[in-house]
């Protein structure tokens, strides 16, 4: 009797459906949990232990070192803020990701507005606008490095020297300050298409009658932009800002390939890489990565609290 009840519960339609669902999700869940969520937790553990190349094969018995990995990161000269000429990795990361994200969203907005109205060749232009985003990072980083070459044969040096703007060739990516600025510009150049696509999709969903009503009221283009377009875009702009901020904050390849993290562009991901795979001090690397994650989470919480709430209210 009991057994029959159990089997019938086991065989009900919802139960069968749930079993099928888990069966279908199992491979994906296994890969994502095994290779992302477990490592993420494991890296917290590593950050409190002394893990190096010597004990990599026996990592689970690595000696615990308490907070010393963290204090060593905080005391590292590459990490600490030492005045406006030497920001240190933590402050550089914040400056870099915020300014790059703001610039990316701004340029993406301009590009989306450009492409929003129909004109001949719009499809092709839109496709071309996406090139920087889809091309391999290694290719575009090296092309830009070569355009910014410090020798007089570099394209930018040649153009600026011909136009008389500079007399001697500049080492753009090897000058403090300038290098950080250029890395920020590079981010905007490469990632504005992402912002553009999302803004464009939202722009095309705006109800046209709003603009028609504004026309009847005699609004000019700027007034329409401020009163209709921007409010309609507010939410998508906020979402793009958050996503791009997270991704830029975590970004390793761009800066590593452009400057190698030198000349005032050392951000936390590059520092993490250097601790782990140059010095092979995985514990300290993991500690640096955890600090990176903590800063990111703090910013996100502030952002969600302040910005997203304002969006809701309006």
């Amino acid at each position: 009797m009991n057994q029959r009840a159990a089997t019938s519960r086991w065989n009900t339609l919802p139960a069968r459906e749930a079993r099928l669902a888990w069966f279908l999700l199992f491979p994906t869940a296994l890969i994502v949990f095994g290779l992302i969520l477990f490592p993420a937790v494991f890296s917290v553990w590593i950050s409190f232990h002394d893990v190096g190349l010597h004990n990599l094969n026996d990592v689970f018995h690595a000696p615990s070192v308490g907070w010393s990995n963290y204090t060593r990161v905080f005391q590292d000269f590459a990490f600490k803020y030492q005045g406006p000429n030497n920001l240190g990795a933590a402050v550089t990361s914040v400056v870099y990701s915020f300014s790059a994200t703001i610039l990316t969203v701004f340029i993406g907005l301009i590009a989306a507005l450009l492409l929003n109205r129909p004109f001949k060749g719009r499809g092709l232009t839109r496709a071309i606008f996406l090139f920087p985003y889809v091309a391999p990072i290694v290719s575009v980083a090296f092309v830009w490095r070569w355009i910014l070459d410090p020798r007089p044969s570099g394209v930018l040096n040649d153009l600026l020297m011909r136009s008389g703007a500079i007399e001697m060739p500049l080492g753009y990516l090897s000058t403090r300050g300038l290098a950080l600025l250029l890395v920020i510009f590079f981010e905007a150049w490469r990632y504005f298409p992402f912002a553009m696509l999302m803004i464009l999709a939202r722009l095309q969903a705006i109800d046209n009658t709003l603009y028609e009503a504004a026309d009847v009221d005699g609004a000019n283009a700027w007034q329409k932009f401020v009163a209709i377009t921007l409010p309609e875009l507010r939410f998508v702009l906020g979402a793009i800002f958050l996503l791009r901020l997270m991704w830029t904050f975590n970004k390793f390849d761009d800066i590593f390939l452009l400057t190698g993290g030198g000349f005032g562009t050392k951000v936390l991901p590059v520092l993490t890489y250097e601790f782990s795979f140059r010095l092979f001090d995985f514990g300290r690397g993991a500690a640096a990565a955890m600090i990176l994650l903590t800063i990111l989470i703090v910013f996100m919480l502030i952002y969600v609290r302040v910005v997203m709430r304002n969006v809701d209210e309006q």
Partner: protein
């Protein structure tokens, strides 16, 4: 001479177009040049000679389409032969399996999330989206030591193992791929599937015969998306590959770039080979996607 012509052009434009149109064209021209010039520079430099590359001034248009750089990449008789075809092959060996497996697994997962009711669905979805937050550099340390341990026990190498790369790329791309497909499946009306189920089709039969044919545009997008991630990926390949024979293209290009004797034209030639397939693939996808969006699913 130049000046007067430019003035005339501006006057001419001012007469024909409104200020708004002029601003529009100037902005468009600015965007197009700043996007296209680097790509032009990459392709054109790949056809330059060592002399043109090393001169005091940049050569904007190569004197002829010289294949010096490509010869270094592919010609075994060249003194600094790079054997780049092996690297192309390695990139394909990683990207194609990654993309194929990602499509299959994300179809199954996305179907479950979009169509089936079960407990823990929201927890799962949110957990999967958390992946967005985690930096690649954070994951690579535990992954490296974890896989080294498992590898020791099961007898495979973490380093110089393309299979390990495929699995890590899958982990990175599956969440987004599943998300993309779930959204697409939700746009396909449930009624069609219900009808097939009533007609006696099994669930897997429904997925295979009804849902998948309707979702082809989304499947293509997922394939291209994962293919491009695997093709372009740099950090994991840099850490996991040591042997030159197993380098994927990005790592090889990085190696050539960091060679003590700089040969930018070779770097640009290799970059061109690496870039053209993704850009072409992407241009093809653009059309496909728009077609898929307009024709997607059944109306009514």
């Amino acid at each position: 001479m130049m000046e007067t012509r430019r003035m005339n052009l501006i006057q001419h434009m001012a007469r024909r177009f409104s200020l708004r149109q002029i601003v529009f064209f100037l902005l468009l021209a600015f965007f197009l040049t700043s996007i296209l010039f680097p790509f032009y520079w990459m392709v054109s430099s790949s056809f330059k000679t060592q002399v043109e590359i090393g001169g005091r001034q940049p050569v904007y248009i190569p004197s002829a389409l010289r294949l010096d750089a490509y010869r270094e990449l592919f010609d075994p008789s060249h003194p600094s032969f790079q054997n780049f075809s092996v690297n192309i092959l390695n990139s394909l060996k990683v990207s194609i399996p990654t993309a194929l497996i990602a499509v299959v697994l994300s179809v199954l997962g996305a179907y479950a999330i979009a169509r089936l009711k079960f407990k823990g669905k929201n927890v799962l979805l949110n957990g999967v989206l958390m992946v967005y937050l985690l930096p690649g550099v954070l994951l690579i340390i535990p992954l490296f030591s974890m896989l080294a341990n498992i590898g020791d026990r099961l007898g495979f190498n973490v380093q110089d193992n393309l299979g390990v790369l495929i699995v890590t790329y899958l982990a990175q791309t599956l969440p987004v791929a599943m998300y993309m497909l779930t959204n697409y499946f939700r746009t396909i009306p449930d009624e069609i599937e219900q009808a097939a189920l009533i007609d006696g089709c099994s669930r897997l039969g429904v997925i295979w015969r009804v849902t998948l044919p309707l979702a082809i545009p989304a499947l293509v997008s997922v394939f291209i998306y994962t293919f491009m991630i695997a093709w372009n990926e740099f950090l994991y390949a840099l850490v996991f590959l040591n042997s030159r024979d197993l380098f994927t293209m990005p790592i090889k290009v990085n190696t050539i770039f960091n060679d003590p004797s700089p040969r930018p034209h070779v770097v640009m030639a290799a970059s061109t080979i690496m870039t053209i397939p993704v850009v072409v693939l992407f241009l093809a996808l653009e059309k496909y996607l728009e077609e898929g969006l307009t024709a997607g699913g059944v109306k009514g």
